[in-house]
């Protein structure tokens, strides 16, 4: 391992964790190749002047140890150790604003490279990714079961004390206040708008066909079980509804 570290020709100050150094080289190459084989990769990475305009305008760079220029440079250098290490925590600092993309004179898209890396990190169920996404579980539950990513009942004041005292007031008598929203599908509490069951059933099919449920099972088995309970219950409701419709038509 030490030998591999020494052959890195360029003295960039990105420390590599012990954990990464202990991972077999072939495994690290496999993961990085998975990133590079994504069809978007060639559309996101071109040349690089090292001008740093991406990093200078990056919001995450102001508060985290994160630089979009480093993402681009590491790929151009094929720096397997650093890239593999970045995939565990570093990449999750990106705000996905794509300021780097619009500013890059070479039209590189570091934010796009990050999203491919995140996707591969999730698909490979890295431990760090699992930990990092734990607090995000409520969004995953909502989106996987209803197709909505946010609903009024998710904005509980206990979770958002930093949003101030008006939040407390907003949540009182929430149900009636939601009904006072002046358009019909917007009156729901558990979803952002009332999503028809038919639409949710189509979403479940998409998740199944594209491997999203499998990926979730690897990432968080408990959350996966909760999600699948709701999905199966809704699928049963849909089947019942279809039967009722058939009987009514007959």
């Amino acid at each position: 391992m030490a030998e591999q570290t020494q052959v890195r020709k360029y003295g960039y100050n990105i420390p590599i964790s012990e954990k990464t150094l202990q991972v077999p080289w072939e495994e690290k190459v496999r993961v990085i190749e998975e990133v590079k084989s994504d069809f978007r990769f060639k559309e996101y990475l071109f040349g690089c002047l090292n001008c740093g305009v991406c990093t200078a305008s990056c919001p995450s760079n102001r508060f985290f140890d994160y630089s979009p220029r480093e993402i681009v440079q590491r790929f151009l250098e094929n720096d397997i150790d650093v890239l593999y290490d970045m995939m565990h925590e570093y990449i999750w600092a990106c705000s996905q604003c794509f300021t780097c993309w619009i500013r890059c004179p070479f039209v590189n898209n570091p934010g796009g490279l990050v999203i491919i890396m995140r996707e591969v990190a999730v698909r490979n169920a890295f431990e760090a990714t699992k930990d990092l996404l734990k607090p995000y579980g409520r969004v995953l539950l909502k989106v996987m079961t209803t197709g909505n990513q946010l609903s009024a009942d998710m904005l509980q004041p206990d979770f958002f004390p930093d949003w101030g005292p008006k939040m407390l007031d907003n949540m009182e008598n929430l149900r009636a206040k939601r009904m006072a929203i002046p358009f019909d599908v917007g009156k729901s509490v558990k979803t952002a708008w009332e999503v028809s069951l038919q639409t949710a059933i189509e979403m479940y099919q998409i998740w199944r066909e594209t491997g999203i449920f499998e990926m979730l099972e690897r990432l968080d088995p408990n959350l996966y079980n909760v999600i699948m309970d709701i999905v199966e219950e809704n699928e049963e409701r849909w089947e019942e509804l279809m039967e009722e419709m058939e009987e009514a038509e007959a």
């Binding site: 985290f64 794509f98 197709g147 149900r175 002046p182 099919q205 419709m245």
Partner: protein
């Protein structure tokens, strides 16, 4: 200029409308490819025909972008409906005012791109399937999709580009759409001619909005001429697929995005420039929920503080869900560090609705805002906001009482009058399958 293309979807003006930096846009080539795929019978382009009353704007490459203004299928935003409900309500209010036809149905799913950018728990095939499923639903109804959310808009623009230029993605998504029954009868994928954000609709309708302000807003004593406005453009509208968003010679000579700024100027309010106009808000997708110290630090230090100190604006005008939430919810916490810069925050369409005389609480739903909007209302001349708020609170009590007593029929009758949507509960299938994903009330109450 005046590049000639055989594609009916790619047009430029005879003369450059403003100095153009990028004259060789790879993105614009998409409209030629799209036409070729249509000619080959692989896709069906959902065209913006005369029934959609098209208007025309320029993108930053000088391309003429077609904006449908009538007969629209509302692709709602989960962040807006769940958190800033006055945002979509203001859009519907304007459509009613202008007598436009639209469809706002429950057969729509979120784009799921907020989740993707935040957590990486999806993939391009799933994103494309979700997008095409929604577009097919709109096409089936004959109403043209209007995308409310900036992230949906950005993600859909990018997904379309990937889909048009990558055969493998089309081949991966097609069997899924077939299973869902979301291809045309002859097996083609439905792709819209233009992907249109609501802020582009507002931009295209700015003359009509200004006219309504003159006619109805001013009659109510509303005057926005002294209001100082800071514009914040949303990253996913203009930085993601940057060559597909309006620019206009009247807004910084075509060198900055035109939507929002143009309508605010048209209303006669004072758009004031500030040094960090380019920065994002700090939303970060995952960060707003799980890295909140970053979001609030960035929002306060790079935007709220700068806007307060440099230009003393009365309001920050946005055109997306995440930015509105971030600026609006992260003010109070600044008190902990002596960095409290109270300022009203709302979208272009909410501000425009207020200017044109919409009810601040029933329509614009300012009740849900955590920021101080009251000084702005006073400055705009909406000095009776206390009575209007009381009126809305009484409505909430009335609704709560009816529900408590189980008087659902009465409640539904009340909504028929109260709600903006006309005719009430219009959907493409007449609610044949009246069940929701969560069995929530009251729309799906059997």
């Amino acid at each position: 200029m005046a590049h000639k293309s055989k594609s009916p979807y790619l047009k430029y003006p005879e003369k450059e409308p403003f100095p153009i930096l990028n004259k060789h846009s790879h993105y614009d080539h998409l409209f030629e490819e799209m036409y070729e795929l249509e000619e080959k019978g692989e896709i069906l382009v959902f065209r913006i025909t005369e029934e959609y009353r098209p208007k025309y704007v320029y993108t930053r490459t000088g391309r003429i972008k077609v904006i449908p203004t009538n007969k629209l299928w509302h692709h709602k935003s989960c962040g807006q409906c769940g958190n800033i409900p006055g945002y979509p309500a203001s859009i519907f209010w304007f459509m009613n005012k202008f007598g436009l036809d639209y469809l706002n149905e429950p057969h729509q799913t979120s784009c799921t791109a907020w989740n993707y950018h935040g957590s990486g728990t999806s993939n391009p095939v799933a994103l494309a399937a979700v997008w095409l499923r929604n577009m097919h639903q709109a096409w089936k109804t004959g109403y043209y999709p209007l995308i409310h959310c900036g992230t949906s808009f950005g993600s859909y623009k990018e997904t379309r580009e990937q889909l048009i230029f990558n055969k493998e993605l089309r081949e991966a998504v097609k069997p899924i759409l077939k299973k869902l029954g979301r291809l045309t009868e002859d097996g083609r994928i439905v792709i819209p001619q233009e992907i249109v954000h609501y802020s582009e609709w507002v931009h295209a309708m700015r003359d009509e909005i200004a006219e309504l302000y003159e006619k109805e807003g001013k009659a109510k004593g509303i005057d926005v001429s002294n209001v100082r406005v800071a514009i914040h453009n949303a990253c996913h509208t203009w930085k993601m697929i940057a060559d597909d968003y309006p620019y206009d010679p009247e807004v910084y000579n075509g060198q900055r995005p035109a939507a929002s700024t143009a309508v605010i100027k048209k209303l006669g309010a004072q758009v004031v420039d500030y040094s960090t106009w380019y920065d994002c808000c700090g939303f970060g997708f995952r960060h707003i929920l799980t890295e909140r110290e970053f979001t609030r630090s960035f929002a306060i230090q790079r935007k709220l503080k700068v806007i307060a100190e440099e230009i003393k604006a009365d309001v920050i005008i946005t055109h997306d869900t995440g930015c509105t939430t971030t600026f609006e919810k992260n003010q109070w916490i600044g008190k902990a560090h002596g960095m409290y810069y109270p300022i009203a925050v709302m979208s272009d369409v909410m501000f425009s609705a207020l200017a044109c005389g919409a009810h601040p609480f029933k329509v614009v739903q300012l009740y849900w805002n955590c920021s101080n909007y009251e000084p702005l209302l006073e400055k705009m001349g909406i000095t009776n906001w206390r009575e209007l708020r009381k009126e809305w609170e009484d409505t909430v009590k009335y609704i709560a009482e009816l529900e408590k007593q189980g008087k659902y029929d009465e409640l539904m009758e009340f909504f028929k009058e109260y709600d903006l949507y006309e005719p009430y509960s219009k959907t493409s299938d007449g609610f044949k399958y009246r069940k929701s994903a969560t069995s929530d009330l009251p729309l799906f109450k059997s």
